[in-house]
Symmetry: C2
Amino acid sequence: MTDGLAIGIDLGGTQIRAALVRPDGTIEKRLSTRTQADAGPDAVIGQMAGLAASVSEGVARDSIRGAGVSSPGPLDTGEGLALDIPTLKGFINFPLRAALSDRLGLPVALENDGIAAAIGEWKFGAACGFDNAVYVTVSTGIGGGVIAGGKVLRGKRGMAGHVGHMSFRAGGDTCFCGNAGCFEAYGSGTAFTRRAMRAASTTPGTALGAGGGEIDAEAVFAAAGAGDHLANALVREEADILGTGFASLLHLYSPDILVMGGGLSNQFSLLEPWLMQSLRSIAMPAFHDTLVVPAKLGNNSGLIGAAALVFDPD
Amino acid sequence: MTDGLAIGIDLGGTQIRAALVRPDGTIEKRLSTRTQADAGPDAVIGQMAGLAASVSEGVARDSIRGAGVSSPGPLDTGEGLALDIPTLKGFINFPLRAALSDRLGLPVALENDGIAAAIGEWKFGAACGFDNAVYVTVSTGIGGGVIAGGKVLRGKRGMAGHVGHMSFRAGGDTCFCGNAGCFEAYGSGTAFTRRAMRAASTTPGTALGAGGGEIDAEAVFAAAGAGDHLANALVREEADILGTGFASLLHLYSPDILVMGGGLSNQFSLLEPWLMQSLRSIAMPAFHDTLVVPAKLGNNSGLIGAAALVFDPD
């Protein structure tokens, strides 16, 4: 039986969150702070160390086994480097793992955020007990991570599982990554909201944006739930896109289960009927029995997954 | 040191090929026959057994360790079943592995053809020595197989790596699989030839198809090599499509090396400059150093890969 505790840290461009995590994946204490994204690596490492100290305050030093960090990529997790994180100034070829380990006096594991969340859902969430799992987060962008044959799929430099940047419609809409036609450019929450704003401005009679109300993903789902025709069409279009992308992922990885996380997974039940219809119309019949479910750990999957690496680095 | 010999069998809709293979991947004897694709499983199993007997004629029975079969899918390689092979009549939920093993009196390994070829190239060909490799065959269709972290990526029922059926242009051209917009529907040799025939019929002055000459992939490459303008544009378009699809595969699997096999890889050097330009314009910079090379074992990679499973089932 594994004992001790681990510190999980979720480093994001907006927030840093840290938690003290037990070997069974439950959280003992959790704190967060706003990321000083423009202040450079030293300041951010300082913020991470400060949160780590705060969540482990009053805990016997020798019961803490180490820290796991979930970070946006691209990283070289083999070498422990941040290669060039777009949302964090100065994180260019920066030895994130060593810098934090020196500061904490603890071993540190570094993982891409999509893979860390996949590990969280695999070890303690919706994919628990399955040997083959794909996790897809649908939020501002689209990210993910893959478990195959009971192992984390990492590839060269730990960069596998960039599921948002597979071709969806070659030569199509521009993606955050700068290229055209990625899955993320069509299926992300950002793309969903963009379509909603465009459609609302030209569709008479829709409740969306009426009276100057803000149009975000939640507003579209709320209007759809209230029977708004345009909002329902937008939800259906998003579900079609996700079903098409997910079908590709089944063909590529053949998971037992696909777990959808991120902000849009909060409305999984509204998306599900159309998403599954789209997926099954595209996936080859041998893949139709693959489970597709929402994440269980909410926005803690990366935090918990990173901490899990402290107990079991594989 | 592994000793003994293995029988490799490549079961195809047109041909069955069998070889006696040494532990170092070299071929001692090879034979082939035309597949009786409409005659049902019993007849085809008989053909495979007959070829196996012929290639091992005169070899001491106890030096033959077993047979490995590369087969078109979908298969359930965990259970040893052919689920429903489109090109072979009656191969529906058929226990291919057990039927052949009974007939040969030898252990039999069963593998999807794309994965078998990937194993061949990984163990003895272009990807030898790399822990992370993607093999893509570009021929009538597009298939493939993946090695990740020094292990074969199989997924549920061994069905991972259907790289031809990821979305390329959602809602686009119809694929052999019946759906719209797959990579195969754009990048395969079939799609390449279809574009060439269409363009040749409406382009004055091209050498392609002049005087009633047949238009196939070889003819397009030959005309391109001779400076024909249309043929060069067609080769460039094909290279662009392949580069786009390969960029997706780098993002998804993060291989050290991508190996291109199949008929079109015979012209790799003509495709390469444009293919790499397209790939690098789309792949994120962290993936730009990934090697992209043609296969080394030609049309024997599946045969040799299947035989390799006899010596090392992993």
